[in-house]
Homo-oligomer: 238 residues x 2
């Protein structure tokens, strides 16, 4: 309050309000930089910067000679936060426990496309485990970790702390890719979750890299009614 917005931001906010208020519909051609320059009494670079920022945010499209038009959104984008399972449990007020059910050091399986997507060859550690909520099984996890990138993993027990939690806290990463899909439970997984074979489940897969080197791949399986993902978005970064 009291602090006036810098002119550039005010121009941007004004235009954003016109668009979000529906006064300027998709396809509407907005005033040229010259007109805005005159209207606001400022240099062309100032309105240009405001319009470019709106273009970066996806609210408008700019084409030479054609001018600047309100963008027609082609998709909904949202910032999805994929929480650490231990944090989900804490938020729900349930007791959390990770149980390691399998552990092996081996070479990359060239028949597995999920492993190949992470790295071409080398040694890795393969882990399997269950996430418990109170006394029931909440999720299943299968993971491989590159020993070339994370040699410390070989001496880590992963018995009390889930490997995902440990990795997040110890290993820096630069790129991650997530895949979210639904699937039917295979017999073995159904038994572990205490559900009928073929039940619906949500599957979350994540590949993580540091630069070009693959660090880990994980596949988490949740019973259909146990877990969902919520994503919120306001365009323009509000």
């Amino acid at each position: 309050m009291g602090v006036p917005l810098p002119l550039g931001r005010r121009i941007r906010a004004d235009i954003e309000a016109q668009i979000k208020g529906g006064h300027w519909p998709p396809g509407y051609r907005l005033p040229t930089e010259q007109e805005l320059q005159t209207r606001y009494g400022c240099a062309r670079a100032t309105v240009g910067k405001a319009l470019s920022a709106l273009a970066d945010a996806g609210l408008v499209e700019r084409r030479k000679k054609a001018g600047t038009i309100v963008a027609t959104p082609r998709a909904h984008t949202a910032v999805l936060t994929i929480p650490d399972i231990a944090e989900v449990m804490a938020a729900r007020g349930q007791a959390y426990r990770f149980e390691l059910t399998g552990r092996a050091v081996r070479a990359v399986d060239p028949a597995s496309s999920n492993e190949r997507a992470l790295m071409a060859h080398g040694a890795m550690i393969a882990l399997a485990g269950m996430h418990h909520a109170d006394s029931s099984v909440f999720a299943l996890e299968r993971r491989v970790i590159s020993l070339a990138q994370v040699p410390e993993a070989e001496s880590e027990p992963f018995v009390r702390q889930a490997p995902g939690t440990w990795l997040l806290q110890h290993i820096p990463w630069t790129r991650a890719r997530h895949r979210i899909c639904a699937a039917s439970l295979a017999a073995e997984d159904a038994r572990a979750l205490g559900l009928p074979e073929g039940s619906a489940c949500l599957r979350l897969e994540r590949w993580t890299w540091r630069e070009l080197a693959g660090i880990t791949y994980v596949e988490q399986t949740f019973a259909a009614d146990q877990f969902d993902l919520i994503a919120e978005f306001s365009p323009g970064g509000v």
Copy 2:
């Protein structure tokens, strides 16, 4: 090839390469605008714009007096793009068709929590339909639209164009909330999709608002092996 990058973009690309190549680790303080200005032989505004773009992309953080430092990437958040179904079909090279199977104008059902989450009362239009890929059913959709916010919807047939596509192109919105979960197919939906009852499916729900007023709620159901969502996070948006 052969077209030289504008200087500003080249500066940005150079710095990005230093960061992604690991030569400038998180926390590293990069050269000041003055140093870069001398190094590249350009005006300060040019390096400033490049650095600001990197800051917008989340690769660096800028603080007055302290300078510009390489940012530490945040934990598992990713930009999820939820595409318009017609665009998915176009990308896959399949023929797309929307079929409207139900349409009614009625008041908000106070027993439906999904409708209550959108608005307290008022008239709405309820739609049901199927998204076809080539000759098979790709997804089911149920939607309600607020007639107070979107009176044009009453005279819109929604026979050729899916309501989502129409809304996205005509109605501005300021906030959206998505929920992603797995579910078992109810008898009616299973019949529509041509699958056994109880099959796994991915369910996507979306609530959309303009300011505080609810515009629409939609629930889309996909067969498990038909559709998945990919979310990428790489700082800088590559």
